[in-house]
């Protein structure tokens, strides 16, 4: 992960992660939704980068980390953190009309985080979109192997690909 990258921010520091082991209420929330961001590739690009920046500033404060995958069809997101903070973050996301038909796949207690920072990646087969967003995963430290290591997250990845095909 490149520390100089404009979209990159440090992960939660060691103290916060140590807090997790004391925190009995660590939760993971997983959802996916239809991408309703319109206005062509440039507008989409701007919106997506805006979402990542906002996610980072809003969520780092309350100890919420996770991953956001997107393509022209959908958003698929994992949120991890203290239960109440995850609820508040998710409620803010639910009020956002840039996506719709939100399917909440899981909201469960977990022992440890899969994602210790905020990362974001374009996942899809579209060559044009890949050219636009392909660098984002690297910049933001997105690690697909973390996702495929978790059943639910792997399912999420699969869903994202289907949604892209459906939107095409």
């Amino acid at each position: 992960m490149s520390q100089e990258s404009p979209v990159s921010q440090p992960a939660l520091n060691q103290d916060s992660l140590n807090q997790d082991s004391l925190n009995q209420d660590l939760r993971r929330l997983v959802y996916y939704s239809r991408n309703r961001v319109g206005g062509g590739p440039a507008a989409m690009n701007e919106t997506i980068r805006g979402i990542l920046a906002a996610s980072r500033t809003n969520n780092a404060r309350v100890g919420v980390t996770g991953a956001l995958m997107f393509n022209a069809g959908c958003f698929a997101q994992v949120l991890e953190g203290p239960g109440e903070a995850v609820e508040t973050t998710f409620e803010r996301i639910q009020q956002d009309e840039r996506h719709g038909e939100v399917s909440l796949l899981a909201f469960e207690a977990v022992e440890t985080r899969l994602f210790t920072e905020w990362s974001m990646a374009f996942v899809g087969a579209s060559q044009a979109d890949a050219a636009l967003y392909g660098d984002m995963a690297g910049e933001s430290g997105f690690d697909l192997s973390r996702m495929t290591g978790n059943n639910l997250c792997a399912v999420l990845h699969g869903l994202a690909l289907e949604e892209e095909a459906a939107a095409a």
Partner: protein, 558 residues
């Protein structure tokens, strides 16, 4: 000394009275102005209120500006000074003090300007218009704002919209998770409503899970339609509250002024009618008011009034439709069907009155009557044939169903094994566990339980697994479709085999032709019920059928 001040000390008044000291020390804030609006005198209260150490000598516009009174608010007072007439105006001063200013021209020239601090009064009034749980406007507040908006709309001719909202499935959240979770959910709903509206819109909670939105200053009906669509989307999204994933929806009814009404009461009523329609048409959607809704509501209300008295006036009756065993052709029993014969309306279709009776809750009383009448009739039959009685999902909610059935069996003396209670999947949709408890309680009494209309609803196989039904009744739509539609035949066959392997009998409903009967027989159903094998008949005829043909063939019964 200006003319008007010397007038205060006119010779006719006792010279010894200390007028100036009284003015200076009196409780009410007071300013005296000359004819041009320059301050000549101020008492201590006024200086404190206006946060100005030395107002004397300042012109009124300067003083007001210094005190924080915003530009347009002070204008009526300044205008009145120029025109030498009295005026009243409400001003907002520094520190959010709200004052009522009264300007009075004096006969000797100049003006007296007094102030009344109404900050607390207004705050109290605002609180009285606020709903404490969500901080939204309450019903009183909505009425106030609606009256004001309508008056404004009347002047400008601009339209405005009222949206009435009802949450779907909120009661289930409150009932199963408790009020604290319900309250937290309501706060989140309120937040989404605020988020979905513009700052000028008024969002109100009218009580329980009812909300309303007043939308002014927008193009109608486009703006309210767009808002209604967003509300259905946003409010219907999953909530996470206290670790629970909650799903509620919202139904919305919209009325637009002036087309749908010019008065507040009319608009609210019409938005309510539209809401009623949105709920009747599946919930989780919105409807605009249409004038026809008024007439339909009248008709419904009149039907409701008649329906509420029908039981007491003994207008209900039962018809009995034979159920035939396919193997032997014998009448195995009858299904009791509710009939309502109204003196003026004539026979009213059950499809019309049963949903209404369920909605207003009186199905519980009607259902109990039907159960008792059916059991009493069956107990008098010459053969121990079975009697099937339908139960409404609503009857499962009161918690008294098992007791009621037990009492009816005891009173009528009917052998419990002859009673078959028919439920639809609808009964199992809500609170499946508590419904299963009731079903097990009924089974313990010795009565049989049938799954009615199978195949049309969710047809969830898990219900068949969760409770060992004695019988599955295949919905008539499949039987009717069997001729010329291979899929229907396949469905009937599948259900018949499913029943056989689960040890449940299967009854095919709605058999009307001999070829349907042959097909049903071929697919392996155990029983049949339909016009071909016997129409619904009066009680006496059913009893006669039993005594005359204990092993009737289907052709005889037709």
């Amino acid at each position: 000394m200006p003319a008007f001040m010397s007038a205060l000390a006119a010779p006719s008044l006792p010279v010894s009275l200390p007028f100036e000291a009284a003015l200076a020390e009196m409780a009410a804030p007071l300013l005296l102005l000359d004819a041009g609006g320059t301050v000549l005198f101020t008492n201590a209260r006024a200086a404190a209120l206006l946060s100005c150490a030395e107002p004397v000598g300042l012109s009124l516009p300067v003083l007001l500006a210094q005190s924080g009174a915003a530009e347009p608010e002070g204008e009526p007072v300044l205008e009145a000074v120029r025109a030498t007439r009295p005026a009243r105006a409400r001003l907002t001063l520094d520190g959010d003090r709200r004052v009522e200013a009264a300007l009075a021209p004096l006969s000797a020239g100049g003006f007296a300007l007094t102030f009344e601090d109404v900050t607390e009064q207004l705050r109290g009034a605002a609180l009285a218009r606020q709903e404490p749980l969500t901080g939204l406007c309450n019903r009183v507040g909505l009425h106030d704002r609606l009256h004001a908006a309508l008056a404004e709309a009347d002047r400008t001719g601009a339209p405005l919209a009222v949206l009435m909202l009802d949450l779907d499935r909120f009661k289930a959240v409150n009932d199963t998770l408790g009020h604290p979770v319900g309250d937290a959910l309501l706060r989140k709903v309120a937040e989404r409503l605020r988020k979905a509206t513009r700052s000028g819109d008024v969002v109100a909670r009218l009580g329980g899970d009812e909300f309303a939105i007043l939308q002014a200053g927008a193009e109608q009906p486009q703006a309210s339609e767009a808002l209604a669509r967003r509300l259905v989307d946003l409010v219907g999204r999953t909530y996470v509250v206290d670790g629970h994933m909650l799903n509620v929806g919202v139904s919305v009814g919209v009325a637009v002024a002036p087309v749908d009404g010019r008065g507040a009461d009319d608009l609210l009523k019409h938005a309510d009618l539209a809401l009623y329609r949105a709920k009747a048409e599946g919930r989780g959607t919105y409807r605009f008011f249409e004038p026809a809704m008024n007439a339909q509501m009248q008709a419904r209300r009149s039907l409701e009034i008649d329906l509420r008295r029908a039981l007491a006036l003994k207008q209900f009756d039962l018809a009995f439709q034979p159920q035939i065993q396919l193997e032997t052709g014998a009448v195995t029993g009858f299904e009791a069907l509710l009939r309502w014969n109204h003196p003026e309306r004539g026979p009213v279709s059950p499809a019309l009155f049963i949903p209404l009776a369920e909605e207003i809750g009186i199905i519980v009383g009607i259902g109990e009557w039907a159960l008792r009448a059916a059991c009493r009739e069956a107990a008098s039959w010459p053969q121990p044939a079975s009697i099937a009685v339908n139960l409404s999902p609503v009857q499962f909610r009161g918690g008294k169903l098992v007791e009621t059935v037990m009492n009816v069996l005891a009173q009528t003396g009917l052998d419990p094994a002859r009673l078959e209670l028919e439920i639809t999947e609808g009964a199992l949709l809500e609170n499946t566990d508590s419904v299963l408890d009731v079903l097990n309680g009924l089974r313990a009494l010795g009565v049989k339980i049938s799954m009615d209309d199978f195949g049309t609803g969710y047809s969830s196989l898990s219900y068949l697994q969760k409770f060992p039904f004695d019988k599955i009744k295949i919905d008539q739509s499949f039987v009717r479709g069997m001729e010329g539609n291979a899929e229907c035949g396949a469905i009937v066959r599948a259900i018949a085999r499913l029943g056989a392997s689960l040890g449940m009998r299967t009854t095919a409903e709605g058999v009307e032709t001999p070829s349907q009967l042959d097909a049903i027989r071929a697919e392996g159903c155990t029983e049949v019920q339909g016009y071909l094998t016997g129409r619904p008949m009066p009680a006496a005829q059913a009893a006669a059928l039993l005594s005359s043909s204990p092993v009737a063939s289907p052709a005889d019964a037709a």
